[in-house]
Amino acid sequence: MLGYITLLLLCQLAGEVAVRLIGLPVPGPVLGMMLLFAGLVWKGAVPEGLDGAAQGLLRHLSLLFVPAGVGVSLHLPLVAQEWLPISAALVGSTLATIVVTAWIMQRLAK
């Protein structure tokens, strides 16, 4: 288990380093996810310990967004001045994005 937690951190670290070296427009952890995914495809199976480590982290993924969410409260006055166009844009765009993506996927996927 400890070894696989280290593996997750190593993938993130490799991602952070590569993103900065090559100047990629994605965050280190996202590249790290792609690296681990490539590794799993290459290996052809998920080791049991890795599965446990990943599930442990992902079971409470929502919790991990709480500190950033609290941080938002600090900057809410930024939204206040133009709250009407901003809230309409957020609601309208979220709705449109969900509908477009889901419909296209449902129509095209077999």
Partner: protein
């Protein structure tokens, strides 16, 4: 010393350690989750939203600033990195499904990506938002670090973008299921992709709680949407800006 003075002394001590910030974050989230489960897993009772409301109330009531709170909360926040990497595991479990409908997946994500940015800017523009606000709005469906980078590059306000990203995530996590039910999309792959494109990590976290397939597709959509937006948005702004 009076009991009140004792408490004061204890508080002064605790305020300098990360213990309180970390503990209240975990407690608030579990309170949120308890209400969510008690409320029949109604998406409106999103545990992240509830926890944030509880904590904002608590910080305001005790006059604690965010930096002090974050001393403790940073330990939770830090785990976002390795958790993002860990999304490779559920994604790998869907390898077969990915291979089978790769073209559909990429098409859906690209269309969703353009819709997210274009519709936000169009609605904001029609209702008279300033140019800086429009540029800050454009990347709001993308995971925070990418969104802030894009916003800065475009001439938006990265801190405003960060707020809009989180608000969008909560909005998608709270309302996404209603929209998908309303338009009658039941395929977990399509539901996951839609939530991942529209509401990045917060939507992905929500999707993972509901269904493993949806969670894996949401994680994939979050990653590819981030990449697509980072590449496409500067070009679109150059063309239409």
């Amino acid at each position: 010393m009076s009991p009140a003075a004792d408490l004061q002394a204890i508080w002064v001590y605790l305020a300098t350690t990360p213990l309180v910030g970390l503990t209240v974050t975990l407690v608030a989230y579990q309170v949120g989750d308890w209400i969510y489960v008690r409320g029949g897993r109604n998406p409106l009772l999103n545990p992240v939203l509830l926890a944030v409301l509880v904590l904002v109330g608590l910080l305001t009531a005790t006059g604690t600033d965010y930096a002090t709170y974050f001393e403790g909360a940073q330990f939770v926040h830090f785990l976002l990195g390795p958790a993002t990497v860990a999304l490779a595991v559920p994604l790998y479990r869907q390898l077969h499904a990915l291979r089978k409908s790769l073209l559909a997946i990429v098409t859906a994500i690209l269309c969703g990506s353009v819709t997210a940015a274009a519709s936000a800017v169009a609605i904001g523009w029609a209702l008279g938002a300033s140019r800086q606000t429009l540029l800050s709005l454009a990347p709001k469906s993308v995971t925070t670090p990418i969104a802030m980078g894009i916003s800065e590059e475009l001439g938006g306000l990265p801190s405003l973008t960060a707020v809009l990203v989180i608000l969008t995530g909560i909005l998608g996590a709270v309302g996404g299921a209603f929209v998908l039910n309303w338009i009658g999309v039941r395929d977990w792959r399509a539901r996951g992709l839609a939530i991942g494109v529209a509401a990045h990590g917060i939507g992905t976290a929500r999707a993972l709680q509901v269904n493993e397939v949806a969670g894996a597709f949401a994680g994939l959509a979050m990653g590819l949407n981030g990449l697509a937006t980072a590449v496409l948005l500067p070009v679109l702004v150059e063309l239409f800006g």
